[in-house]
Subunit: 459 residues, 2 copies
């Protein structure tokens, strides 16, 4: 055990108190009423960075909540990393489902229960505490560390790319290490090396110019709900895979080690459907197929639909229009522009005659994120996780879209590795979010070793 | 010209003033803020009936707005009719589209513009004014007349069947003559002899127990919008006809003269699509086909749909459920119970595995209305219309559901003929509703002749 690890262990009870204080700030970024609290959380991070020994610490204003920046760059011959995290949290609703209030921070069974404890206040505090330990004991760090902590991750990071662009000159680095993300399972260490991209759109089908009376016109007038249903029903094949011609153009195969991970995880399809509360389909797909589709296949998902009368009782109307809200999750190699065009052509080909449609994109879309499997930093972090857990870590993919990987790649030219000690079962978007204190302890050791190892070999 | 017709013509300017006064009462039955005005309109009818010479005139309370009853039954050897109409009106919105305010009652180009002028205040006033003329000139009527004017027709007549049932002993009659309804075209007299029935339901498809994140779960979790779309897309064949097995069971062919009317009407399909503001489908169906579907074929219409996120922008959710609101228009012989069962079986057969559904009926449904083509009263009224217009009247069907025909048949055992002088182009559910004063004049003559002719031959 190194001096740093011994110091971290000795101070652990104080760290828990600090995390509790951090978690008591209700920094809900989507709630305008919490604006002052969100700012208070940013101030907490600023002060903690300064106390740890970081320099040039500042709140960087954005059109929304500020980004916090700090750096320690006194190792001119060593590599440089940017540490990413976020100080904002999800809304705590429904409040009545919490065993203890979401912003009270209660420790039970070696877990800290609070909104934001796992996502991302606990995990982001770790690299700061570790840096402080190095600077306290040795007066130096094994590598240069820049810290960038945002306050709008739970609102979709609307101003983050702009903030990174404006800080580009300060953020030069060899690698971004994200303290946000999640391990797949508590007993199975994992590193996320791929996540899906996104293309979002609304599709509106129109028949008549206004709503018509269904008694007077029923049978003769065009019904856009029926036409939209026909188009939506044509988007997938019987197995539920996207059946849009050209949709998969350019897609590249994933790192083969992700397929190994899918086999190793032992995903239980029946249990999955039970957990989400859905009827088990017949025939039941096997777990590997299901997890492959969640991690490695693109989707065309219908997020919402509306049209005509949607209130109680009956209104005998033939709607003028109906709209589907759609998002696609993309895999590596799919280009959002091409995906939009393929869907648009598919709609034009499948819409029954007698209707018009409007196709409106929400933004340019996001390409998928995929890390080079040969990246040395990946092997370094895998070794560390393996040492601490005694198990070989998995290389996993995420179904969700993590835009920061793409932002950092585009703005800084640097790859992003995910090294969070959050675990995906810690209810971070639900009541009773918690952070395992064992993960907190393991994370401190892991980041201490990561600073040293990455200082020696990063690319 | 009879004494009665001469009297009606001489008094016509005064009748127009009376109708204007009636139309100035904003009796919008669906608007709780108009409750006092609706009552005021009921009082107007009560007083007008008394002044005309009707007896036992009263407001009959219901759980909603009152029904007005009155009778003149002093011709013991003559037949008896019930005259039906409604004193309530549609809401006037959008107000800014009216050339003159909806409750001002302005005469332009021999038309009276006001909300309710055509539907149904003008047409219902006619049989009252005609009865008054007979009683003034002759002290008697050619037949017994009972008048029943409701105040909730534009709200779907929720309490009308109950009111008729409670008045059953007073309403004994040989025939109901409705002053509500509409002629097909101003230059083409018509009698409505059939209208479609109704079966209404909501269909909700459920996947998971709650909304899921589409990044985390997309590809593995069931999407009920997709499943609902698949079911909805299976309800019709490529021609748009209902493809639900058993849906048409029991349906009986219509009066052949309705098919003659469809041919005679010269329905222009291209102009129809232009008028409703929809793209013309290719190939364009011919007009007879289209009107046959509107009048004589049943429908399964999607009145509304909703599920998941329906706000602006994007929310990456896999909805837990999605709902379609459905009404079917039924033709003679279709039983609502059987139709509900057929649709339910179809849904069960076409819903993909891995979903559940809920099927909720709105009430028991309404059977279609179809008049016996041999009913003598029909021929009597046809002859009168033919005399006045110089053209042979058409026997037409309505796509809409007219529940009063069924109510009167079930409660009183009497058939209902529609003898309204409203015309279907008079914008009675839109801004700038008007009533042709020519129709008002023709209607007075026609009802005068009808009282005499029906007094001689009714069944």
């Amino acid at each position: 055990v190194s001096d740093v690890e011994a110091h971290l262990a000795a101070n652990f009870p104080a760290y828990v108190e600090e995390l509790k204080a951090f978690c008591r700030i209700p920094s809900v970024s989507t709630d305008p009423a919490r604006k002052a609290d969100v700012l208070r959380a940013a101030t907490f991070v600023v002060e903690r960075l300064r106390r740890a020994g970081f320099e040039n610490v500042e709140k960087v204003a954005t059109a929304g909540h500020p980004v916090v920046f700090g750096e320690w760059c006194k190792a001119p011959d060593a590599p440089t990393i940017v540490v990413y995290g976020h100080y904002d949290v999800q809304p705590p609703d429904p409040l009545d489902k919490w065993v203890t209030p979401p912003f009270e921070a209660d420790v039970r069974d070696d877990r800290l229960y609070a909104r934001g404890a796992s996502d991302d206040k606990g995990p982001l505090l770790i690299p700061i505490l570790v840096a402080e330990a190095f600077l306290t004991l040795r007066g130096t760090l094994p590598l240069n560390v820049k810290v960038l902590i945002e306050g709008e991750e739970e609102s979709g990071s609307p101003h983050f790319a702009t903030a990174v662009a404006s800080l580009r000159n300060k953020l030069g680095c060899d690698l971004v290490v994200s303290a946000d993300g999640a391990m797949w399972r508590a007993d199975l260490p994992s590193l996320t090396i791929a996540s899906r991209g996104m293309a979002a759109l609304d599709l509106t089908v129109t028949g008549a110019a206004k709503d018509l009376h269904s008694g007077r016109h029923g049978g003769s007038a065009p019904n856009p709900v029926r036409a939209l249903a026909a188009v939506l029903a044509s988007f997938h094949d019987a197995d539920g895979r996207v059946a849009v011609e050209g949709f998969l153009d350019g897609a590249v195969p994933p790192d083969p080690r992700i397929r190994e991970a899918i086999a190793a995880v032992g995903f239980d399809a029946g249990r999955y459907f039970d957990e989400v509360g859905a009827p088990r389909p017949e025939p039941l797909p096997d777990g590997e197929t299901l997890l492959t589709r969640q991690w490695l296949e693109p989707t065309l998902e219908l997020n919402g639909i509306f049209g005509g009368y949607t209130g109680p009782g009956t209104k005998t109307v033939i709607p003028a229009s109906a709209t589907a809200k759609i998002t696609c999750r993309l895999i590596a190699g799919q280009r959002p522009d091409h995906v939009f065009a393929a869907i648009r052509s598919h709609v034009a080909a499948h819409l029954p005659s007698g209707f018009s449609f409007e196709f409106s994109r929400h933004g340019p879309g996001t390409t998928a994120f995929a890390l080079d499997p040969e990246l040395p930093a990946l092997a370094v972090l895998e070794d560390i996780l393996g040492e601490i857990s005694g198990r070989k870590p998995l290389r996993v993919a995420m179904g969700a879209t993590v835009p920061i990987g793409t932002v950092f790649k585009e703005q800084l030219g640097a790859p992003t590795v995910f090294f969070s000690f959050s675990t995906s079962d810690e209810d971070y978007h639900a009541p009773n979010e918690f952070f395992r204190l064992k993960s907190f302890r393991d994370g401190l050791v892991a980041w201490a070793r990561a600073y040293e190892a990455l200082g020696r070999r990063i690319k």
